[in-house]
């Protein structure tokens, strides 16, 4: 038995050691760079503490009974020890208490994450408001980002102002994907029949790796993007540069982007009206054939069309 325990300790401790000796920034979930990821990180740490406690109790009793009663001539054998009401009540109540201790912060965080995080910096003038809205569309196998307030479209990367809450509206053109930037916060799915939202915010300027986390076909593993957080002035500069030096997204280029393939990051200074219709693949086919897309009826079903969260 000791052999297992030692092997197990080594297996658990080695990565922990690696964690302590400086590559902790590689453990992205444990390296939160924004308020959303941080609230999730706190929850994770709290649950880790509680669960380590549970695991420790189980392991201690486990090792005790094996050492004490596993030897050939151990004393204390009692075949009539078949139950103990008091003990059973204890190990019914203890997990209940632990569940309550975990459930309360869980529910609190859940409701908090429905709201925009608190801004820690003044929004840049190019944002035209206190929060930035970006419409995200997943296409096999790329990410399209649309800035409706700035009339900008980017592919496979997105620039946001740091310290400012960003509302991502998530759509899927074809397959379901999930939008995940672990350093900034947990994921949310993209779907064809239900627009969803995700609030994220970066504490400080920096580049954060994002990827699709829900399998969507051949190019899924390459479906990555970068979130580039910039200071207010840098964000303004970026917007101005895009508007002055980048090409417009044409109808034909957009149609090409909707084909299943992988592409390099791209930037466009404007987008054609069809982009804002948020058509999914079936609706697009109907639209191209001159049939009704049914998209208006669909918006009536939106769980979240008001910008106030799904209520």
């Amino acid at each position: 038995m000791m052999k297992t325990i030692r092997a197990k300790a080594a297996v658990i401790l080695l990565p922990l050691l690696a964690l302590l000796t400086g590559c902790s920034d590689k453990i992205v979930v444990m390296n939160p760079q924004g308020p959303v990821a941080r609230s999730q990180y706190h929850l994770i740490v709290w649950s880790l503490i509680m669960m380590s406690l549970v695991l420790a109790i189980v392991l201690i009793i486990f090792i005790y009974v094996l050492v004490r009663f596993g030897r050939r001539k151990s004393k204390g054998f009692d075949p009539n020890d078949t139950g103990n009401r008091k003990l059973e009540v204890i190990w019914l109540i203890v997990p209940v208490v632990i569940c309550i201790l975990l459930a309360v912060p869980t529910v609190k965080t859940l409701y908090a994450l429905d709201q925009a995080p608190k801004a820690t910096a003044a929004a840049p003038s190019a944002v035209h408001g206190k929060t930035l809205t970006i419409d995200v569309t997943s296409v096999q196998w790329k990410w399209l980002f649309r800035y409706p307030g700035q009339n900008i479209e980017t592919v496979n990367y997105v620039v946001i102002p740091s310290g400012v809450p960003v509302r991502f509206n998530l759509h899927a053109y074809d397959a379901m994907n999930a939008f995940w930037v672990p350093e900034l916060g947990g994921q949310q799915y993209t779907m064809t029949d239900m627009p969803m939202k995700l609030w994220l915010q970066a504490d400080k300027p920096g580049n954060y790796q994002g990827r699709s986390s829900n399998f969507s076909g051949t190019g899924f593993a390459h479906m990555t993007f970068t979130v580039q957080a910039r200071s207010a002035s840098d964000f303004n500069t970026w917007v101005n540069n895009v508007k002055s030096s980048k090409p417009a997204l044409t109808h034909d280029t957009y149609m090409n982007l909707l084909k299943p393939n992988t592409v390099k990051p791209q930037t466009y200074s404007s987008y054609p009206p069809i982009v804002a219709k948020d058509l999914n693949k079936a609706q697009m086919n109907a639209y191209m054939n001159g049939q009704p897309t049914g998209n208006d009826a669909m918006h009536g079903m939106n769980m979240d069309n008001s910008g106030k969260g799904g209520k």
Binding site: F69, L113, N280, G310
Partner: protein, 654 residues
């Protein structure tokens, strides 16, 4: 001519040397089987003793053989994936091939390995534990097995004919629909899983009735062995959960084969509805493969601690609680699909609640060991290893239940590590435990202890090397189902360690397979029928059990009925055995195997949209049902002389 070559190149999977290798080996193995059966003149024996049998013990053995083969196939899939992921940027498998491999790995391990293995063990042990001579519906039992077998064969055919499914074992719409996935692969998934699912539903009904109606006199429900209790509860879960899956599969089949729009992007289909229906079955399914092994561990821990199970009643009620909760937690598989905060809060809490009865069970097992006399046999090692390893899977499950934290774990390697911690440390350890425990009852000899322990240690340590680092990999941002990853993210070394662990588990499995062969040749005979000093009725009869199980049906007055009988015997209070009476047993029937062959033909036809093939298959299935309804003489009597002869040969009658 052109159209024929075109058809053939789509019909057979081409272009990959590994597939050609598989083609050759399939043909060779098939030829070898034909040759051996013909050369040794075993065709008739195979047909009469096995293919047409309605004996629950033989059906159980067939389930286990098939499940072990499927476990091997699923394991090879796993090793292929781990080879591809061992280093950044590997090119061992391309993306499409990798996607097929993870899909077949998941589907096979759950549907065609774990579940049938459990069905095999329950077929063997439950009637023996409750003092019954067969299950309630022996013919239906054979139908269940052959439907599973037809489904498994259909599914496995996909990788050489037509192409395998590639949308994951959960087959999420709309990716699994024809709009994005036009090939035959997903059709295979739908039809194969559907066919075997019908068998599973029938098994649930069969064992529910068996346990409720066929217990030995005196065995009230609360005197039943814990394994039988776990199967009773599992049967109820199967009866309630499987219809949801049957319907979901049928709807998606309508989508794919007949152009329906239940889960499509177009025409108002709802892809998310699939996720709901799938997990409404999928979460209870987790407990369908877990509760039975809880039962196995309860038997084995009590037997080798030489004590009655601690807190029997609480053990039962916690399983009942788990079974009820299992139906109100399905949404935790998609917390991140746009649910409102109250919805996620409800499902977070309902999921956490499952930890309470499960924790209670863990402590009851620990206190069964307490004040026991623990014998470290191979089955006991598997059971003991379950406790700490499964607890790790359990506590990470609680972490996943916390919805906001799940936003970070979901779809990541952390999740993959969690469900392997529960499914391997729970289900796989459990079925290996049960396999070693009941092996002597199945075959009359024991699996070798020394080799068994080697297999255990290699497998168990490798399991930890494989899955402990995977939790960290998830926190490092690696998602599931990625066929490759770039260097520089720090994932490479972790993945390499994981791959070493995976191959170690493969070695452990090979040692176990070797042990089975070695023990078949040199294994210790079980002449007493009670090699473990067992406590329940299956150990009161000779090994292997006679066709009729019990020459006379025992009368039960307490829990651990056989232990009580042995104590009575030691005290000299043994009751005189009742006189033998002729025993009524079910006849063999060819209908189940023929019917499942028609089911296979129908399934294959639907997969390729070949209605000219599917419709005759369906007609054949219906024809078999009609034929069965005209069988009036479906049972025979075993005369007293034959019972005496059998019992004398087993040393039970002087």
């Amino acid at each position: 001519m052109n159209s024929i070559t075109n058809f053939l190149s789509h019909f057979f999977v081409t272009g990959d040397p590994m597939i050609y290798g598989a083609d050759v080996s399939i043909v060779l193995v098939t030829l070898a089987i034909f040759f051996v059966l013909t050369y040794f003149k075993k065709w008739k024996w195979l047909w009469q003793e096995w293919l047409t049998t309605t004996d629950h013990k033989k059906i159980g053995i067939m389930y286990i053989i098939a499940a072990l083969l499927m476990f091997f196939r699923g394991g090879v899939d796993a090793l292929m994936m781990r080879t591809q992921l061992a280093l950044p940027g590997m090119t061992f498998l391309n993306s499409d091939h990798y996607n097929q491999v993870f899909t077949t790995h998941g589907t096979i391990m759950i549907i065609f390995a774990a579940m049938p293995f459990i069905f095999g063990l329950m077929n063997i042990a439950v009637p023996l534990q409750i003092g019954a001579r067969d299950v309630a519906f022996p013919f239906l039992n054979a139908v269940s097995f052959w439907l599973f077998f037809a489904g498994a064969m259909l599914f496995n055919l996909s990788f050489v004919i037509g192409g395998s499914p590639d949308a994951g074992w959960s087959a999420y719409a709309p990716y699994a629909g024809t709009e994005l996935n036009p090939g035959v692969g997903e059709n295979y998934y739908l039809l194969a899983v559907q066919i075997s699912g019908i068998g599973s539903l029938a098994t649930g009904i069969n064992f529910l009735v068996t346990i409720l109606k066929m217990r030995a006199p005196g065995m009230t429900l609360f005197k039943m062995p814990m394994f039988s209790w776990s199967i009773l509860i599992t049967s109820v879960i199967m009866i309630f959960a499987f219809p949801a899956f049957t319907v979901a599969l049928a709807l998606m089949t309508v989508d794919r084969i007949f152009g329906g729009h239940f889960f499509t992007i177009a025409s108002g289909g709802s892809p998310m509805l699939w996720a709901n229906l799938f997990w409404f079955w999928g979460h209870p399914e987790v407990y369908i493969v877990l509760l039975p092994v809880f039962g196995i561990f309860s038997e084995v821990i009590a037997t080798f601690a030489h004590k009655t199970l601690f807190g029997y009643a609480i053990m039962v009620w916690s399983m009942v609680a788990i079974s009820l909760l299992s139906f109100i937690t399905w949404l935790h598989h998609f917390f991140t699909m746009g649910n409102t905060a109250p919805v996620n809060a409800f499902f977070s809490i309902s999921t956490m609640l499952i930890a309470i009865p499960t924790g209670v069970k863990i402590f009851n097992w620990l206190f069964t060991l307490n004040k026991g006399r623990i014998h470290f046999t191979t089955p006991m090692l598997w059971a003991l290893a379950f406790i700490p390893n499964f607890t790790i899977g359990g506590v990470t499950g609680v972490m996943l239940a916390m919805a906001p934290a799940d936003y970070q774990y979901h779809n990541s390697a952390f999740l993959v590590a969690h469900f392997h911690s529960t499914l391997i440390a729970g289900t796989v350890f459990g079925i290996f435990c049960g396999l070693h425990y009941w092996w002597p009852k199945m075959f009359g000899y024991l699996l070798d202890e020394k080799r068994g322990k080697w297999a255990f240690w290699v497998f168990m340590i490798s399991f930890n090397i494989c899955f402990m680092p995977m939790y960290f990999l998830g926190l490092m941002g690696q998602t599931r189902r990625m066929y490759t990853y770039p260097a520089g993210l720090g994932w490479g070394p972790v993945n390499f360690v994981i791959t070493i662990g995976a191959f170690g588990m493969g070695v452990g499995f090979v040692i176990m397979a070797y042990n089975i062969i070695w023990s078949a040749l040199h294994g210790k005979r079980d002449t007493t029928g009670d090699p473990w000093d067992g406590r329940t009725l299956e150990w009161s009869i000779p090994s292997p059990a006679a066709e009729y199980n019990f020459a006379t049906i025992p009368t039960v007055s307490t829990r651990d009925a056989f232990e009580a009988m042995k104590e009575d015997k030691r005290a000299g209070k043994e009751k005189a055995p009742a006189a033998y009476k002729p025993i009524h047993m079910p006849n063999n029937s060819a209908i189940p195997v023929v019917m499942s062959a028609f089911m296979f033909i129908a399934g294959f036809g639907f997969v390729f949209w070949w209605f000219w093939m599917a419709i005759p298959g369906v007609i054949g299935v219906i024809g078999c049902m009609i034929a069965r309804s005209f069988v009036y003489n479906d049972a025979h009597l075993i005369p007293v002389e034959e019972i005496e002869r059998t019992e004398r040969a087993a040393g039970r009658l002087s």
